[in-house]
């Protein structure tokens, strides 16, 4: 077993640099204006290569969640959760919910980014948005 590692391609580096500044940026297509995740060389929707790095709001909605009961990484002793969050800008990211947990289903809960240290790197987690409530599943 080892510790968790990032995948950092040529296109991921600017995103991780922005995360270390606690304001995550993603590529926004200069043509169709869509945000893409993971970062890449081209817009999969319109095939334009021109883009701008834009900060994301850090606001999103939980689509699904899991709880790990088995250990896979030295730096992630179970139990711990992982959540799939659809950002307001469109892309789905995986993160960890910290702080209060919704009662019952987590699906549909409004969350926002917080940044924290994990294994020597800065990365995002999410917490329930103030007043976000936990609306019912779609």
């Amino acid at each position: 077993m080892g510790i968790s590692q990032r995948v950092i391609t040529l296109y991921d580096q600017p995103m991780w640099d922005s995360i270390s500044r606690e304001r995550m940026e993603l590529q926004q297509c200069a043509s169709c204006r869509r945000f893409r995740y993971p970062p890449g060389p081209i817009c999969p929707h319109c095939l334009a290569m021109e883009h701008e790095w834009q900060p994301v709001s850090g606001r999103g909605t939980i689509l699904s969640w899991v709880v790990f009961h088995r250990q896979y990484f030295e730096d992630f002793p179970p139990p711990y959760n992982a959540v799939a969050v659809q950002l307001a800008e469109g892309p789905i990211v995986v993160s960890n919910l910290i702080g209060d947990e919704p009662k019952g289903s987590w699906i549909g809960a409004a969350v926002e980014f917080v940044y924290r240290e994990q294994s020597g790197r800065k990365q995002h987690a999410v917490r329930l948005a103030p007043g976000g409530g936990d609306p019912p599943a779609r």
């Binding site: 990032r6 993971p38 896979y72 992982a82 799939a84 960890n96």
Partner: protein, 387 residues
């Protein structure tokens, strides 16, 4: 759109596999009976004997992803005029394509995997499959790893959107254990109940231990021949009536095909093609074999291939049934959950044996068509075996 060019151009004339049960016992006892090449060799000999043909008749070779093509050809002494490397489902389709195009007439499909004795990891820092699927490793900084976790995330949302329960999914593990209890080649033959399923521990919640495939060593091989030559070779040749494939790649790493679409668009397109090519519909299918690295694949396939309506898989599994005892028999060998984890290869063998009527206690009565489906990472593949 769908065409019938590959329908019945080729037939399976021989199937074989290693001794899953004996090898697993030896591996658990600390021995290493074979490596991947050795398991592949054992399976090839068995398939050749089952076909009743001489090795010299083989002019095509496809090997699985876990062994090198040239080395398998070398150890089996096979010089061929066409060859390649593919997973279980695509190797069957590629064999049909090679035969239809005239590049080969008798193709050996050979797979061996020593994943258990070699301690292959499917999660964590060295997760297998990372080179092919970025989603297997991209979310590791958040501790999100293993293919099981990907299906746990998918199942959690599917369960909520479809109004299903954990007990509904338990129907899969229970039905496949029933099948395995009637299969002497199966590793896990003790029957379980829904209550035992629900009481089993979580690995990645909401998936329980019994939702996960086994990890064991083994090998599987098939011999596929041009249809008219197959009829001369064997009275038990099983024609391939249809094949189909539809891949969803867009958004794969950010999990959109899993969490938004539940693979449905890919499966529906594959279903349209395979049923049209075979000239049948879901009601004509006697048994369904589904790639079941996790039990979640079964409700996805039932809805995706039209065995039940969208949103009806929970009711279908519970009320209609998916076992040898009731309803549509699914994974009649016990599948990856209870027979052997041969990454879809042993499912082809089971499909062929069911059509031949050789399955003894677990034989599906009057078995005419067996549909094989896989949807690994949203790549939907179907093969229709029939009489």
């Amino acid at each position: 759109m769908p065409n019938g060019k590959l329908s019945k151009v080729a037939s399976v004339v021989g199937v074989g596999h290693s001794d899953f049960v004996a090898d697993h016992a030896r591996v658990r006892g600390g021995e290493k009976p074979h490596d991947s090449y050795g398991y592949a060799a054992v399976a090839f000999r068995a398939a050749l004997a089952d076909a009743g043909i001489d090795r010299s008749e083989i002019d095509g070779l496809i090997v699985g992803p876990t062994t090198a093509y040239e080395r398998v050809g070398e150890i089996l002494g096979l010089n061929v005029r066409w060859g390649g490397q593919a997973d279980a489902m695509l190797s069957v389709i590629e064999a049909c394509m090679a035969i239809e195009s005239g590049l080969a007439e008798v193709v050996a499909l050979v797979y061996g995997n020593d994943q258990r004795s070699a301690a292959v990891n499917y999660g964590g820092p060295d997760a297998q499959g990372a080179a092919a699927f970025l989603s297997y490793v991209y979310h590791a900084p958040w501790g999100f790893t293993s293919q099981g976790a990907l299906y746990a995330m998918m199942w959690r949302r599917f369960m909520a959107v479809r109004g299903m329960t954990e007990a509904d999914l338990g129907e899969v593990a229970v039905a496949q254990r029933l099948a395995a209890s009637r299969n002497p080649n199966a590793l896990m033959r003790k029957r379980i109940t829904i209550e035992e399923y629900l009481a089993s521990h979580y690995v990645c919640e909401p998936l329980h231990l019994f939702d996960y495939c086994l990890i064991n060593d083994g090998g599987v091989a098939l011999i596929i021949a041009e249809a008219s030559r197959a009829r001369k070779m064997s009275a038990r040749a099983v024609p391939i009536h249809g094949v189909a494939r539809c891949d969803v790649n867009e958004g794969a790493t950010s999990l959109e095909p899993r969490l938004i679409d539940f693979y449905l668009p890919a499966q529906q397109k594959a279903a349209e093609q395979v049923f049209a090519m075979a000239g049948i519909g879901p009601r004509d299918v006697s048994a369904l074999q589904v790639y079941d690295s996790f039990s979640v694949h079964i409700p996805l396939a039932l809805e995706g291939y039209g065995y039940c309506g969208i949103g009806e898989s929970g009711h279908f599994m519970r009320e209609h049934g998916i076992s040898l005892a009731k309803g549509l028999p699914v994974n009649t060998s016990g599948g990856h959950l209870s027979e052997s984890y041969m990454q879809g290869w042993a499912h082809q063998v089971e499909a062929v044996r069911q059509v031949r009527g050789e399955c003894g206690e677990r034989q599906v009565p009057d078995c005419r068509f067996v549909h094989y489906s896989s949807d690994v990472a949203g790549k939907a593949v179907s093969i229709m075996y029939g009489r």
